[in-house]
């Protein structure tokens, strides 16, 4: 029995840590904006059917390209669907794709990164080679190629974006595992005859996880951006489903006649990514005080 194993944090202690985390996180006022913005979009995504009464894919009686009215708040789109409902449901698609793909990428990346650090040798070389190779193909070109192979759609998009995110997590996890493995308390554990596998998940995983959390929160914004970009180019989320990127791309020809149709999804997208990034910076500040105010 080691000291680290028998030590349990009391509930009080944990509460204090959580409170300190939130206090540092919100010490910059702007983070509150990021938090509120993100929560707003998350709630909209969760309760989409309650917020938007119209079916996002059904044609309405109002006709096409109408501007906002009491019935249709944002007006109707180019074939007469309710734009408000489409934007609200689009929140779901954009957020869900981003969150799911980052979570999957973090999970797989952490696992592979630990494998690389644990086995070393040929496994390490192979995994690093994989990272290097995929870093040499630019994200957008790789995405385009993969989408053209497997087709668009939400699940495919999430998988493809996940695939793109893995190398980053893998490298980070490998580096922090290796550096923790060299520290004295790991040496002490090993001298006591603790198995390497147990050390990996009891000590290295918990200690290396905070940069991974920071990276995930910052990746979500980037992934939402990528997804909307691909949908904007017409190769991402497939047609009947509404993603903000695809709404913008449908709306673009009407910029001259009906600017609010284009601007509303644009503003939503910008607000969501800005809030996500600000919140990510806040979480980074709280988890890693040394970096505070660096960017």
């Amino acid at each position: 029995m080691t000291a680290a194993k028998t030590y349990r944090r009391s509930g009080n202690d944990r509460m204090r840590t959580v409170r300190r985390f939130f206090r540092t996180m919100f010490s910059r006022r702007i983070v509150i904006f990021g938090f509120v913005g993100t929560m707003f979009f998350v709630l909209v995504a969760l309760f989409a059917p309650l917020i938007a009464h119209q079916d996002p894919n059904a044609l309405t009686m109002a006709g096409r390209l109408r501007s906002g009215s009491a019935e249709h708040w944002f007006g109707t789109d180019y074939i007469g669907r309710d734009l408000f409902a489409r934007v609200v449901y689009g929140t779901r698609v954009s957020l869900l794709t981003g969150v799911i793909s980052v979570l999957m990428a973090a999970f797989v990346g952490v696992f592979l990164g630990m494998c690389a650090a644990y086995f070393g040798g040929i496994v390490d070389k192979l995994l690093l080679g994989y990272c290097e190779t995929f870093n040499s193909i630019p994200g957008i070109a790789l995405c385009l190629t993969l989408v053209s192979m497997f087709g668009g759609g939400m699940l495919n998009m999430a998988l493809i974006l996940c695939f793109m995110g893995i190398p980053g997590f893998l490298r980070m996890m490998r580096a922090s595992s290796l550096s923790i493995m060299n520290s004295d308390y790991i040496l002490a554990e090993r001298l006591q005859g603790q198995s390497k596998l147990k050390i990996m998940y009891k000590h290295i995983l918990p200690n290396a996880i905070s940069p991974i959390i920071v990276m995930s929160t910052q990746m979500i914004g980037a992934t939402v951006m990528m997804e909307s970009g691909l949908s904007f180019l017409g190769v991402g989320i497939s047609i009947p489903m509404a993603s903000w990127g695809s709404i913008i791309s449908e709306a673009r020809p009407y910029l001259l006649t009906n600017p609010s149709y284009v601007m509303i999804p644009c503003i939503c997208l910008a607000l969501l990514i800005i809030s996500l990034n600000i919140l990510g910076d806040g979480i980074r500040d709280a988890l890693d005080p040394a970096l505070r105010g660096e960017s």
Binding site: I30, G129, E132, T133, N135, S136, I137, P138, G139, I140, A141, L142, L144, T145, L146, V147, S148, M149, G221, M225, S228, G229, F232, L233, G234, V235, I248, R252, L255, L256, P259, V262, M263, C266, L269, A270, I273, I274, L276, N277, I278, D281, G293, E294, S295
Partner: protein, 314 residues
Amino acid sequence: MIRYIGKRIAQTVIVMLLVSFITFLLVSVMPKDPVYSLFGSDVTPDEYEVLYKRLGLDQPILVRYGKWLADILRGDLGTSYAYRMPVGEVVGKKIGVTMYMSIVSTLISFPLGMLFGVITAVKRGKWQDNVFTFLANIMGSIPGFVIAIVVLWVFCVQLKWLPSSGFAFPWEDFGTHIRTIIMPMFCLVLGGVAGVTRQTRSSMLEAIRQDYVRTARSKGLKENYIINKHVLRNGLVPIITLIGGRLAMMIGGSVFIENVFSIPGMGALMVNSVNKVDVPVIQVCVLLTAGCISLSYLFTDFLYLAVDPRISLQ
């Protein structure tokens, strides 16, 4: 030194080979029949057999890969399905436009971004820092195509100052060039400046924290002197990475901007080829972008060696 350079070049070649193999593999399992794509869909079954053999599709994938690679190295990039002409010609027309755009935008955005980065770092916590950092963060968070659409709306739809699309090289038609280039260039530069500002600021702050800066201050040196001689020299080294990254994005980086302003560059070509499943063009595009990235990493590493004497060859 020479051994290191040799090793790095060998590494780059290996990565390029891997990338080319992966591209070939990925694209060759795509559900598109090359025979019908190249010769039209009215090929009879008998002709199909002959053409299938002539294209070498009956051979194992490694053999085909070897042949494809040999062709590429000899300069024969294949035939585009969509345009029915050599890929080299198709790509050649577009690549100049994209490279011109990205080189000019890099030349503008780096000095500006470094200037803002230095200002925000030196005036840390003052209003200049708050304003520029806030703007850079916001600009870095808005997708390029959203900025492009807003710019298009303001200058083309509302003010009617500039044409919405088109492109001409300055040596072809200077007036058209200026009028068509302003908006896309503005968007590219805005994105670039935001990134460079953030990076410069954080690496400058890192340098300001160092012990030698404290020593210089306690010696009573003037603040300007410290910034110029100690902080700038060390703080700007990481910017090299950013230049490398920027060069790496030379071909793929302006897809969205090209799309919004209908500029006939590589980005538009890539999106079109993906939509039309134009396999040979996709392969060459990915290879070119990958080559660009590998070369710029190589260039970055060598530049580091030249600039920073502290970096050892290990």
